[in-house]
């Protein structure tokens, strides 16, 4: 899985591409642990390039979200593909995360 970092409107944009499963979670978790601080706790995870997500990947996003909220920030998701959206709806994780279609819109919604 490919990971790219950028920023937009003061928020960090994490763009993921490919298959997000248990093997890909370690660097993501590490990034959140190292980079989320008081002045940098707004993150949008752009999942438009992700075609598959397993429970370990979901757990890593939850961990990231909790860390952001710990520092008075938040983690939003954007661009969910249909199969991924279904996973979120079945587990009701669409209630735990704010989900946007558009990354730019997400970045201004903090």
């Amino acid at each position: 899985m490919n990971t790219e970092f950028g920023s937009l409107n003061g928020a960090t944009i994490l763009t993921l591409n490919g298959r997000f499963d248990a093997f890909e979670t370690a660097p993501v978790i590490e990034w959140f642990d190292k980079n989320i601080k008081a002045d940098n706790a707004h993150v949008v995870v752009d999942l438009s390039g992700v075609n598959f997500l397993d429970s370990a990947a979901l757990a890593s996003l939850v961990k990231g979200m909790k860390r952001c909220r710990e520092f008075q920030g938040d983690l939003f998701l954007s661009g969910l593909q249909q199969p991924v959206r279904i996973i979120f709806e079945l587990t009701r994780l669409d209630k735990a995360f704010r989900i946007f279609t558009d990354t730019a819109e997400a970045s201004t919604s903090f």
């Binding site: 370990a56 757990a59 079945l90 587990t91 209630k95």
Partner: protein, 506 residues
């Protein structure tokens, strides 16, 4: 004779004279019969041999050099004629030939002895390495024995594993600089070995690479140059070293794997023991549950909770992820569920809310969450109450109406500090079935990579709704296994079925 010193030559010739004394004597006697007075073999001006003994050639003796041999002459005290010169020349040729042959024989014998020594040395190395099962000792043994075999004044063996170096040396001169040069020499020159001049001494390196990604080198330091047979020996030592180190690493990997497998087996056994054994029968419903583990230890669980004063509950859930972490959280969750049931906490939603509170901090710490579905059937009013925290698939079948998915209304446990789930009720008519299962059913893939899916799962239930709980369970397992075909089971499969029967059924 190339490269030998004057002193060596003198000794060699003296030995030759000694060995061939009888040949020289018969040669000398023949000359004396011809009328010569003295026959001698000279090395420069020094008489190596003379006949009669202890005589010295005179000024007017005939002298012929032995061809291709430095400073060696035949001298005969006789009248100088062309015939004399011709005969003496022949003798000289013959003797020179003998000397050369003798010298070659000597060299070959020396080489054979050296080779035999080296073979004994390699054999000794082999024997010593047989006793070593660990990297450090192996490297130390290789260094020590190699030093003795080559008379090097320091031998260094080194491996580069990830970022660090594992090093053994017989001397004490190793510097990081030297080590870097040694490794770079290996990289650049591939497997060829070349002696190198370094600070006045000679350094010879050979690769000890165990496998790609673990480069290694053996370094010999000596004050005099390494000759070709020694380079061959170093090559042989490196070859043997590599094979042995490869075996040591394989051995260590196998032990680590076996240890891990034992832990996994232990975890699986704990999990299996904790699965519910006996179902306390409830009037009006036929309940059955089962779990089939995949190869890796997983996070699926199901349980029957029976406590006095409380209607029995059926629970099923799935911890995010696989492996030992998930398995441990699964056992935590199971315990939390059982502890939370008391008179204040009875309904499924109460239970889930309480367990979420109990587990939230630990789950956050571990970075995990777990889905959970709790059902409770009240015989008195035939109502099934349930609460669902993020779990799927849960399917409800009503006779005459077909089967449909019951969706979760709350996130899994451990995501939010509060679990916002509600109790839902279903009045179960005879023949209604609740099937709560885990991902392992719907996500099973066939050889083409297509999942079994929710639709197929629902269809199978509808088509076989006439079966009892246990028979339906068996059927669903078979259906998924048949669909998967030869593909291995990648996820645990857990299922709980609650079927409404007529009131007399116990």
């Amino acid at each position: 004779m190339y490269g030998e010193t004057q002193v060596d030559l003198a000794t060699e010739y003296e030995v030759f004279v000694h060995n061939y004394r009888s040949v020289l004597e018969s040669m000398a006697q023949r000359w004396l019969l011809e009328g010569a007075s003295i026959f001698a073999v000279l090395h420069g001006s020094h008489a190596l041999y003379s006949f009669p003994a202890n005589t010295l050639p005179q000024m007017n003796s005939v002298i012929i050099p032995l061809p291709n041999l430095q400073w060696l002459f035949l001298s005969v005290d006789i009248q100088d004629t062309s015939i004399v010169r011709s005969r003496l020349g022949t003798d000289a040729l013959l003797l020179a030939h003998l000397v050369t042959l003798e010298s070659e024989l000597d060299n070959m014998t020396q080489e054979l002895i050296t080779i035999q020594d080296q073979q004994l040395g390699l054999y000794e190395l082999n024997r010593a390495l047989d006793q070593c099962v660990e990297l450090h000792t192996s490297l130390a043994v290789i260094a020590r024995i190699s030093q003795r075999l080559t008379n090097a004044h320091n031998v260094i063996t080194a491996l580069q594993i990830d970022e660090r170096y594992v090093v053994e040396q017989t001397g004490s001169e190793l510097s990081p600089h030297l080590l870097r040069i040694a490794f770079r020499t290996n990289e650049q020159e591939g497997r060829s070995l070349q002696p190198m001049l370094l600070d006045g001494g000679y350094m010879l390196c050979a690769p000890l690479e165990i496998q790609t990604g673990i480069p290694g080198v053996i370094v010999f330091l000596r004050s005099h140059e390494f000759m070709s047979p020694e380079i061959k020996l170093v090559h042989a030592i490196a070859e043997q070293g590599r094979t042995h180190l490869r075996n040591v690493m394989l051995h260590e990997e196998q032990i680590a794997q076996a240890r891990l497998q034992t832990e996994v087996d232990l975890a699986r056994r704990v999990q299996t023991r904790l699965l519910p054994r006996r179902l306390v029968p409830q009037t009006g419903v036929d309940i059955f549950g089962a779990s089939r583990a995949a190869n890796e230890v997983g996070g699926d669980f199901f349980d029957y909770i029976v406590k006095p004063g409380v209607a029995p509950l059926q629970v099923i859930g799935d911890v995010a992820g696989k492996g030992l972490h998930a398995a441990m959280v699964m056992t935590m969750t199971r315990t939390a569920m059982r502890s939370a049931i008391c008179t204040e906490v009875q309904s499924p939603a109460d239970l889930l809310r309480q367990v979420n509170v109990d587990l939230y901090d630990d789950l956050t710490e571990l970075g995990l969450f777990t889905t959970a579905f709790v059902a409770c059937y009240q015989t008195s009013d035939r109502v099934l109450t349930y609460a669902n925290a993020g779990h799927s698939p849960v399917v409800y079948y009503k006779p005459g109406e077909g089967a449909y998915m019951l969706e979760a209304d709350a996130t899994p446990l451990g995501i939010l500090p509060t679990c916002f789930c509600d109790n839902h009720s279903l009045t179960m008519s005879v023949g209604s079935i609740l099937v709560a299962a885990t991902d392992g059913f719907v996500e099973a893939e066939n050889a083409e990579g297509v999942q079994f899916g929710y639709n197929r799962f629902i269809s199978e239930i509808e088509a076989h709704a006439y079966l009892g709980a246990e028979a339906l369970t068996e059927h669903l397992f078979s259906a998924v296994n048949a669909y998967r075909g030869a593909m291995p089971q990648s996820d645990d499969q857990t299922i709980v079925i609650i079927k409404r029967t007529d009131d007399e059924y116990v």
